[in-house]
Symmetry: C2
Subunit: 220 residues, 2 copies
């Protein structure tokens, strides 16, 4: 079926920007999404650009909401949905018992690496995610963040030196602000070819969109 929104691959080649992936280290759904979206990008030959947001610290306040896992009825559902999604996307996730984990330092370090050692940035974020969500190790403290940086071959001392300076604070603030201005309200979120998708349960729709430029079934 060919709908009015359908574009041929040729017409779309000119606009193949990256898939932008919004994450918060504290979300196990974002961890699942981080693995799934890299596989999807690889399948389609599309780059994936990672951008940190702060759901708990900032975005839920804008929305006037509590953390989803604390909401009656929704919390238990999400716990089960995480298990199912992790199985579907073949990502090992182990809920940790750490209580509140602070993602701010790790997010600042990620942004510093993007600017100063770009080939180490994504491996660093993947290391942070895996420590927290497969090994249950707190990644909130400065030592943990520096250790993750070293683990992926980045300059730990340089990361440490910039975790608390104005540029790092400002960079993270801007990252969150820009995400919000684009409508991001949860993680994982994905923006690609002008559309925002929230949640791993929308990845099938994102893939269809990227393949066909349409939301109609059967096109492409």
């Amino acid at each position: 079926m060919t709908g009015p929104q359908r574009q041929g691959p040729q017409e779309r080649l000119g606009s193949l920007g990256p898939i932008v992936f919004y994450f918060d280290f504290i979300s196990p759904f974002a961890y699942v999404g981080s693995v799934a979206i890299e596989r999807l990008g690889a399948r389609l030959g599309r780059a994936v650009e990672w951008r940190p947001v702060l759901i708990g610290v900032t975005i839920l306040k804008i929305m006037g909401m509590r953390p989803l896992r604390e909401i009656p009825l929704k919390g238990p559902y999400l716990a089960r949905d995480l298990e199912r999604l992790a199985q579907w996307f073949e990502v090992a996730v182990r809920p940790h018992g750490l209580g509140t984990v602070n993602p701010v330092m790790a997010s600042r370090a990620y942004l510093w690496l993007v600017d100063n050692a770009p080939d180490r940035a994504k491996p660093f974020a993947q290391e942070v995610f895996a420590r927290l969500w497969t090994r249950g190790i707190d990644i909130g403290g400065i030592e943990a963040v520096v250790d993750c940086a070293r683990q992926v071959g980045a300059d730990g001392a340089a990361v440490r030196a910039h975790l608390d300076d104005d540029g790092a604070r400002e960079g993270l603030r801007r990252s969150v602000e820009q995400a919000v201005s684009l409508g991001v309200f949860g993680v994982p979120s994905f923006i690609a070819d002008g559309e925002l998708f929230w949640g791993n349960d929308h990845l099938w729709m994102l893939e269809h969109w990227l393949r066909t430029g349409s939301f109609a079934p059967g096109s492409g």
Copy 2:
């Protein structure tokens, strides 16, 4: 791939109950789901049993939440997501400008029909949904409800006579209470073979579950 949760079709035949579909007439997502789940049921040879809940009146209060469409950032996202999902599931939806629509009378009528004219119950609910979400006609009032009943060949006078009696009130209260006890917190929700799924964006997962008894990819 065969995972530990995998069951053969033979083992599962004994437990093929209906897919239970939870709806609230006021939700356009539930309308899309009502069409999509009947098609899915037909594809898989599974009956679909419809059960009304009252999201706005009851369930959001339990959750301590506002209506999702009123939440900053999430509201605009949901409006766009409705368009995309309607396109994907090929369901015409036209947002109405009616303000608050009260689903209570129509839900009571539906339950009365389930008990007293079961072959008219689902056509009635489909008529209510279509009036509201394709033609933008308010279905909250008693006259509208009776008219929908007549439209599908039910006894309008009998429906009218029972809209406000104790049995009707109690039946709807029980329907909501039972849904909540099973973890339902939004519409559309679907329960089948022991699993709860929320949202049309989970229908692919429900279908995979029904076909394979597993959440692992590639099984079945």
